[in-house]
């Protein structure tokens, strides 16, 4: 079955997005698992030939929204810092940590838009479809998310090099 193979291929991307979205590894994998279960249950709703990735991210978005609603956990991150895999290729662990923390502090709506655009490199139209919001909302959330992120990174990370101008 074609979808099954694609589903497996997409797991790393789902995990990456989930990890950045929920800020913690185990809950991120819980989210991915729930998403896969739901995707199987709803696979008959997927239209063959359309973008399976976009469909899966839509499923994940819905699962995530329902989970957040059910548990009423807003953004759990305070001082606790989640572990992020950091092989030697990553130049600046402090920067990574600060970024992760700053992203976790973005409002959930804005965080989703920022991550789909930046991490998944979805087109703005795809983001609008995935999240079920108008494209104008995508642009305004993206703009606000970036400005907040920039401000946070300027304010709290001595290791960033944001003063640099080319």
């Amino acid at each position: 079955m074609d979808e099954a193979k694609r589903l497996v291929e997409l797991i790393p991307r789902l995990r990456r997005y989930a990890r950045a979205l929920v800020g913690e590894r185990a809950s991120a994998d819980d989210l991915v698992q729930d998403t896969l279960e739901r995707a199987w249950a709803k696979l008959h709703l997927y239209r063959r030939g359309t973008d399976l990735r976009a469909w899966l991210f839509t499923v994940m978005h819905n699962v995530h929204v329902n989970r957040v609603r059910a548990t009423r956990t807003s953004d759990p991150l305070e001082d606790e810092m989640p572990e992020l895999a950091q092989p030697g290729t990553q130049p600046d662990a402090l920067l990574v940590r600060d970024l992760d923390r700053a992203i976790a502090r973005l409002p959930a709506d804005q965080r989703a838009v920022l991550l789909l655009v930046t991490l998944e490199e979805m087109s703005y139209e795809e983001v609008a479809r995935t999240l079920g919001i108008p494209i104008g909302t995508v642009m305004s959330r993206l703009s606000r998310a970036r400005e907040k992120l920039r401000a946070m990174m300027l304010g709290q990370s001595p290791s960033t090099k944001l003063k640099l101008v080319k």
């Binding site: 079955m1 099954a4 589903l7 497996v8 797991i11 790393p12 991307r13 995990r15 990456r16 990890r19 950045a20 185990a26 994998d29 819980d30 991915v32 698992q33 896969l36 279960e37 199987w40 992020l84 895999a85 950091q86 092989p87 290729t89 990553q90 130049p91 920067l95 990574v96 970024l99 992760d100 992203i103 920022l114 991550l115 655009v117 930046t118 991490l119 087109s123 703005y124 642009m139 305004s140 993206l142 703009s143 970036r146 400005e147 992120l149 920039r150 990174m153 090099k161 944001l162 101008v165 080319k166």
Partner: protein, 257 residues
């Protein structure tokens, strides 16, 4: 939009490198006269790059077994097996109201709910124990994770009792929906393929203990008991009542703090 009016959306699209060439040149000209805006947009670009770099390692991580399992194709007969189990047990789960009308429950009320757990456990057993490919969600090879995960979802510290001395080894477990929240099911199997499931749920009223009770639901024998905040039901369609009682005693012993 006129050529000269540069919107915030243009700046975002510019930062993402998604503007068509003509528009890009217009934005660049606009930014050239506004160093502060240019600095802001440059920062967005750097941040985008850094965000990608921060999470990139996750793409090359091996997929955890439980996720690979969740992505694996479902056998179509799994659904049929579930349907068959419902029919065989003559259950309408959506009928708790009718259930309440049963005289022995409304009159005696010795231990409210306690027969329900047996029934639920029997259904869950009949549903999952015939599974060949997907008897569990998380296998025993990942036992620490399995127990931690189910404990987290149920909100109590669970254990998967070791029953090897009785010839039953842990296959794994799964999470099930229950009447009052998530339920855990651990599955065991003997060398000759006989299966046993332990159904574990949290109980609303705490600090209550009951003796072992036995129920038979269709072909599934169930021993069940409540120990403080947790209700247990040990179910099998493959074992005699005596064998099941022996295992229930062993489970109880293993679960002692």
């Amino acid at each position: 939009m006129s050529e000269s009016a540069i919107s915030e959306a243009d700046l975002q699209a510019y930062a993402d490198g998604r503007l068509p060439e003509g528009r890009r040149a217009a934005v660049e000209a606009w930014l050239a006269a506004r160093p502060e805006e240019a600095e802001r947009v440059a920062a967005y670009r750097r941040l985008a790059h850094e965000v990608r770099a921060a999470y990139e390692a996750m793409l090359s991580e091996p997929v955890p077994p439980r996720l690979a399992h969740a992505a694996a194709p479902r056998a179509p007969w799994r659904r049929i097996a579930i349907a068959a189990a419902w029919v065989a047990l003559g259950i309408a789960i959506g009928a708790p109201a009718g259930w309440q009308l049963r005289p022995e429950r409304t009159v005696t009320q010795v231990v409210p709910d306690s027969s329900v757990i047996a029934r639920r456990a029997a259904i869950a057993h009949a549903t999952y124990s015939p599974e060949v490919r997907h008897p569990v969600e998380v296998g025993a090879d990942d036992e620490a994770h399995l127990v931690a995960w189910l404990s987290k979802r149920l909100g109590v510290k669970l254990r998967a009792p070791k029953l090897d001395e009785a010839g039953m080894s842990l296959v794994g477990g799964r999470l099930l929906p229950g009447d009052n929240g998530p339920v855990a099911q651990f599955m065991y199997q003997s060398q000759n393929g006989r299966r046993l499931t332990l159904y574990v749920r949290t109980e609303a009223s705490r600090n209550r203990e009951t003796a072992f009770r036995y129920a038979r639901e269709n072909n599934v024998g169930v021993f069940y008991w409540i120990d403080r905040e947790v209700g247990y039901a040990l179910a099998s369609a493959d074992l005699s009542k005596d064998e099941l009682l022996r295992l229930a005693n062993l489970v109880y012993k293993r679960l002692e703090p």
